[in-house]
Symmetry: C2
Subunit: 558 residues, 2 copies
């Protein structure tokens, strides 16, 4: 039987009725400043209340056990964990708490997601990663004393506790917890790190928009969302929500899958310098710095250096590393620092060899996420529901590839006469094209190739027949560009000529141009933004959700 | 039968007799400036000679076939490779050229490592990565014409050629090539990228010190080494030597093995921001920059952020990324930018849990390099001979672990009374200790734990019994420190106290300190320099050899 608290423990923080403004989503797109402000004001009100409560409680909070209690060794704050001894004790992860462990004694460490004391009983939701379990204390004077219940009931949310307990199978599912088929009958509880007043509780920050909406009453009462800025200002708390835990496991998975496939196809990993002289690609949006008395800058991409690695005799290389863009733009998809997944490879005759790798790479990544990280995708969807990502299998017939000219024609034929054959696509047109392609081909993943030369960088190889076109491509997920790539110019004279034509002084990239003078293999490659892949695969609405500590023109901390 | 040129083709560039100074190693330690200068002067003399030769030849070099030659389609420079068509042709890698392919026709692309024309014959060494093969042209007027031999003979070193050939098994090994059991009977040859005059030839830069010494004649004639600065100034050429090809495959392998083991133990990969406000750990050696009107700096390590990821509810994290140090020091083991391999994990009770991971991690890495990258280690050893790295197997009895106090005693007992119990070890004493331990335990890999608190950073957890000691450790390879690590302070009050005591203003790290206020899990971790691991495993004498494009206070390009 599941021991039932009067209210579900996971909702132990009562809905707020303190403001007249409706609950506000933290992630409207574009971010609504007013909404943010309203939510922030509301949240602050709540926080002040919580602070007051916490400091009032502080005086009363029992942190040590009552020495006269025969059970006094079973609760209380222990000395700081400081590498005193190796005891050989074993800890059980919360995710492993299943009926298979029924009636066994376990030692579990976790954060207090929620706590509710009620007379002689206490109910706790313990959290570890995306997993939660219910722990219960019932005064029986044999294993649980009254002061022990009091100690447990007064624990603040997010405190780290160590719980000794017997696993019990329950008849009625504990709906509020991921480990719904068991509960922990506590026989010992020690707080090893106490949480002070919280700017917000992860349990509150974990609610979906639907939950927030549903809680809203006629007078504006209900749960309140946590504004994005509040989240990012307190990112370590924000990261504790199950959705965020899952997002960063998926982020880790994307680089893992990226490397798995490329290593299996003979690529090697390289690390190119982020500190560079001059400006890396002649661009303007570059962070400059003083480097021992000479001007330096941060790499805007590993582009020139990964090509130089190919000139250094490497056949196929990839890099996973930070990319810096000093662009003063505040959009849902730009950051000043992001993680680039780059690769570059020799080609024998055609840049389609690069596209073949991209196709295998991304279908491998999508398949892998779908199969091996399904539970994380589910955890994300619980807070941020999204339509599953659709892709065509690799091989034959392969991933959809369109010429740029065809893409323009599709747009024009579908009511977008403003699409111009030799101009780049605007973000809006890209998105519209994505919708049309989704409708026609049922895929969120496709490639557009043979872009106009006029919209590509100087190092792009022109089309052999018609220099108005280029041997380049973009790759899209849900109508947003994630990859730019191309065959590169490996002829130093053509390279210098194109650089000059596009206003990049050859002197500023001399060692790069020179590297093609000593026998240059034809080559091509591409670059992907890790955070963008995660955002678009999971249908998230803001890139800041997929960056651990995001950086934009207004945010440099934490 | 192997077709024999009059001289081994691999030595086609004749030894120089142009200077009276002896051949000079490019990597004396410490770098001798005079030796470097002498070598540079000598090399320049040679280069000028080569340049003259190349430009004189340029006028005479045949780049197109003779239209009257019935074989004219079988040689000559083709149009630039520019993605004209997907032909379905297959290319064979040079490393795959073995007797198994005897009598088969192959298509091979490679750089010209060496070439020698002699009347009606031409001998070429083709190179791809670490592999080389001999290709021959004998005029027979059926498959090879006289102008075809002339075309091949005039190809400049490092040019990229595409060779159509029949694989022939040879009776006498082609000693100068890695693919010594076969040669290529050329029936078609097209140069797809011509190399201009070279600052030096990779074939020359690939010689070991022993080879250089052996070539030295009584009048100072002989092969000349290539100075380190010349190499680094022309890094793309330098990277083409077999040893360098292998070094960067080993570098790639080290991160691959690092990730394999950690992913298998439940770690997830994170990416922490390199752009930070203030100075990352309160240190002085930091690169500063302007960040949209506010002061920023580059991360000196992911230390504080990987700890914050743990505070964000992640159990075990790792990061592979650049680390920036604005230290003005020119030594064999420091760079201003290197690749950090960092990890951080919650611990249950003791920082020995971190050491257990390190032990499994490094023995896994060493075993993996030894077994899976043996041929690369061999290629490195050919140019830079080194004593194989020795390590004890993990498990029980485990990797050697010494208390700092014991290490000091060992030094004192072995004739180093200057070793002081509460001071850090100097680089020299570390190296001496390494020698003693190697002699006593036959291992190049060991751990020293329980360092004096006074020599560790503010976030280090003190020993629970005696605050003069700390819960910290260093890990060594061949007597050089590669890892620093510790249990960290997870108590915000103690953290603020220790920061203040060590002169780090708490305000400058406020969000870091705050992150421990919301329930903090005890944790520890470590950081490793990727380039240092490669350098020390392979017994190389300079860290610049293991960085693709090294950065030091004097070098910001290429």
């Amino acid at each position: 039987m599941a021991s039932k608290p009067d209210q579900p423990v996971a909702e132990a923080s009562s809905p707020s009725a303190s403001g007249a403004t409706p609950p506000v989503s933290q992630e409207d797109l574009p971010v609504s400043k007013n909404a943010d402000k309203r939510a922030a004001a509301k949240a602050e009100k709540q926080n002040k209340k919580a602070d007051k409560l916490a400091s009032r409680q502080k005086a009363e909070v029992p942190t040590q056990s009552d020495p006269s209690d025969p059970l006094h060794e079973k609760y209380g704050d222990p000395p700081r964990i400081q590498s005193r001894a190796v005891t050989g004790r074993k800890w059980t992860n919360i995710i492993s708490l299943t009926p298979a462990l029924a009636d066994q004694a376990v030692l579990v460490r976790g954060n207090i997601n929620a706590v509710r004391g009620k007379g002689n009983n206490a109910f706790i939701v313990l959290r570890q990663g995306t997993a939660t379990a219910q722990a219960i204390l019932f005064k029986d004077d044999k294993t649980v004393s009254k002061p022990m219940v009091k100690y447990a009931s007064a624990l603040s949310r997010e405190s780290v506790v160590e719980v000794e307990a017997i696993v019990r199978k329950v008849d009625t599912k504990v709906e509020a917890c991921t480990q719904s088929e068991v509960e922990l009958k506590v026989i010992g509880i020690h707080c090893i790190s106490r949480a002070g007043p919280l700017p917000f509780a992860p349990a509150d920050a974990a609610r979906s928009q639907a939950e927030l909406d549903a809680s809203e009453g006629p007078d504006g009462e209900g749960f309140v969302g946590v504004a994005q800025d509040t989240r990012l200002d307190n990112r370590t708390l924000d990261l504790r929500t199950p959705a965020n835990q899952a997002i960063f496991r998926v982020q880790s998975a994307v680089s893992q899958l990226f490397r798995e496939l490329l290593l299996s196809e003979g690529f090697q990993e390289i690390h190119t310098p982020k500190l560079q002289g001059g400006s890396s690609e002649g661009g303007a949006a570059v962070f400059t710095l003083q480097y021992f008395g000479q001007p330096g800058c941060l790499a805007q991409s590993p582009q020139l250096f990964k090509q130089m690695a190919i000139m250094g005799g490497m056949d196929r290389v990839f890099e996973v590393g930070p990319v810096f863009r000093a662009e003063n733009s505040m959009t849902h998809r730009h950051m000043t620092e992001f993680t680039g997944l780059d690769f570059e490879m020799t080609i024998h005759e055609h840049y389609f060899e690069v596209l073949d790798v991209i196709e295998r790479l991304f279908t491998y990544m999508f398949d892998g996420l779908h199969k091996r990280w399904a539970s994380d995708l589910e955890a994300i969807g619980k807070q941020y529901p999204f339509e599953p990502f659709r892709w065509l299998p690799s091989g034959s017939p392969h991933v959809l590839r369109l010429d740029f000219e065809e893409a323009i024609k599709i747009l024009q034929d579908n009511g977008f006469p403003e699409a111009q054959p030799l101009e780049d696509l605007s973000t809006e047109l890209e998105r519209e094209l994505g919708k049309i392609i989704k409708k026609q081909h049922n895929t969120d993943f496709y490639i557009i190739q043979r872009f106009p030369m006029g919209v590509r960088p100087f190092y792009t190889m022109p089309d052999p027949e018609d220099p108005k076109w280029s041997n380049s491509f973009d790759v899209f997920m849900r109508g947003e560009e994630i990859i730019s790539g191309a065959q590169r110019v490996h002829d130093p004279e053509l390279l210098a000529e194109q650089a000059t034509k596009l206003g990049v002084p050859v002197e500023s990239i001399q060692s790069y141009v020179d590297s093609f003078k000593y026998g240059a293999h034809p080559h091509g490659g591409a670059g992907v933004g890790l955070e963008r892949v995660v955002m678009l695969f999971c249908g998230l609405n803001n890139i800041r959700k997929t960056s651990l500590f995001p950086r934009d023109p207004k945010r440099l901390a934490p």
